[in-house]
Symmetry: C2
Subunit: 307 residues, 2 copies
């Protein structure tokens, strides 16, 4: 490691991401102290019960006091308010980061509150599961995943590299990106897939002529793959779409354009168009498996393969 890691880390928000960060730090033998805070008392109680963070605090101000790294792990829509609340308590020289899925909005709403002498280095670990809350975390969540570091212009280079080292310790790879490009990339690989999955599941739930029992029983034919991400945290995703409006609407426009072209091919019986399209999409799957970002086990390894 080229940089010393932090002595004191504060996790603000104790959901899937923050709890996974804590377990990954433990796994790595992190020697410092980790404090935690969650707005909900029930979440704080759960965190205390399962030993999530070394000290669960009853206020954000208390949690961040003396911390070298403060991680905002709350829904994107709440980041600005939390930043405003903790700003006076931040230690000079500390790094303030976040794990939000939208970066333009976070920069716009958090940066104005960051005091002189505190390094604001936004980041986004691109990993998650369909489960949420303090008990959903696990140490391996970030292994071989990417954490995007999205520093505003002029951010201290050493603070950026120190945060990157921290994420490497948690198992992730890191890459730097500017906020606008980040939000477009995430619209493509994350936000639009989620809105589409939510839509598909909503449609199936809403049909009169096909019962919910039928949808559930026969879901293995493709539908169930959508239901995993459509079970993701509603608050988090509401905020993502409200705050990444521009890129989301742009990619949605491209999506419906393509979908209408395929719909037209179905209507007109243009088998060649369909075949060519379906052939092209296989290649990208191979790329994902070669990059170690998914398993090649049939059916995601849901069934054992033994002949």
């Amino acid at each position: 490691m080229t940089q010393p890691t932090y002595d004191r880390v504060a996790l603000i928000g104790l959901g899937l991401i923050a709890s996974s960060m804590f377990w990954a730090m433990k796994r790595a033998g992190f020697a410092g102290t980790v404090t935690g805070y969650a707005r909900s008392e029930a979440t704080r109680d759960t965190a205390r019960r399962i030993g999530l963070t070394d000290r669960v605090c009853d206020s954000a101000a208390e949690a961040v006091e003396g911390a070298d790294l403060v991680v905002l792990a709350v829904p994107v829509g709440a980041m600005g308010q939390v930043a405003e609340e903790i700003a006076p308590c931040l230690k000079p020289g500390a790094t303030l980061t976040d794990v939000g899925s939208v970066k333009g909005h976070v920069v716009d709403t958090v940066a104005p509150h960051v005091p002189e002498g505190v390094h604001f280095v936004p980041a986004h670990p691109m990993a998650g599961t369909e489960h949420s809350g303090p008990e959903a975390g696990f140490a391996e969540l970030f292994d071989n995943r990417w954490c995007l570091i999205v520093p505003p212009e002029g951010t201290d280079r050493q603070a950026i590299e120190r945060l990157a080292e921290f994420w490497h310790m948690l198992g992730a790879n890191t890459e730097e990106m500017d906020p606008e490009h980040h939000d477009l990339v995430c619209a493509v690989v994350s936000h639009i897939p989620h809105i589409i999955a939510y839509t598909m599941v909503g449609v199936a739930d809403d049909l009169r002529r096909v019962s919910e029992q039928e949808v559930i029983k026969f879901s293995a034919a493709g539908f169930r793959d959508f239901t995993r991400i459509a079970a993701s945290d509603p608050t988090m995703w509401r905020d993502v779409f409200l705050t990444n409006k521009k890129a989301t609407l742009e990619i949605l426009g491209r999506f419906t354009e393509e979908l209408f072209a395929l719909q037209r091919a179905i209507r007109t019986g243009d088998g060649q168009h369909l075949f060519d399209y379906f052939t092209r999409t296989r290649a990208i799957r191979r790329g994902i498996i070669e990059a170690g970002q998914d398993t090649d086990a049939p059916d995601f390894g849901r069934v054992k393969v033994e002949k």
Copy 2:
């Protein structure tokens, strides 16, 4: 078992489904003989090499000779032609079935060729993986999945029940359904999810401002769930959409209607609409897991959960 199983089974087409049927028969201790035929010589060679079926034949006619059960496991668009070819060779009293994903079209194109005295009992095992070909099959594919039996009116009751017993032997549950309802249910749980997944992957592949490398690297954020089913066999899926046009276009219409409503909520900043929609879709996921049709392991069990 209430019915005796078959003595001689012929598998016409040796892809994922037929090969899984063979391995599932072996696993069940099926005592009869299984013949196989595939149009492609390369597939027949592979089948011989891996011991797929007891005897690989060089013509469909040879394979079906003397068979008590003949299974058409070819793309939906080829079913009618294959049925016409083998019709003169079918044994009186035999059952002819298929495994196609669209049933109205199969009934329309196969039934006219079925000779007097042969029982035509269409079926559809709702199971699959993203892999295809003779080497993709495995014995567990149908375990706890549903095989829909879709007999035309007037089909011999004993022939239907015998085929259902056969599928139970392979590990599947069975349910009867009429062709029109079958095709609508499958549009919802299978065909539309596939066309949407293909579209999403196609859009990502086609963008200028986000590179393919970025899409691949960061796919764990949601996108990769779509790529599994978008890697399915192009020929099979072309035929599905060409032959289940009516139901596909109906459900696609519903899908775009819902998507536009969510898009409007994003544009107008209607967070409550988004939150309510995203909350509703969680329940259907729970139903699927309770029904044993998916795993509750985070992230499909792609990563181990150990704290």
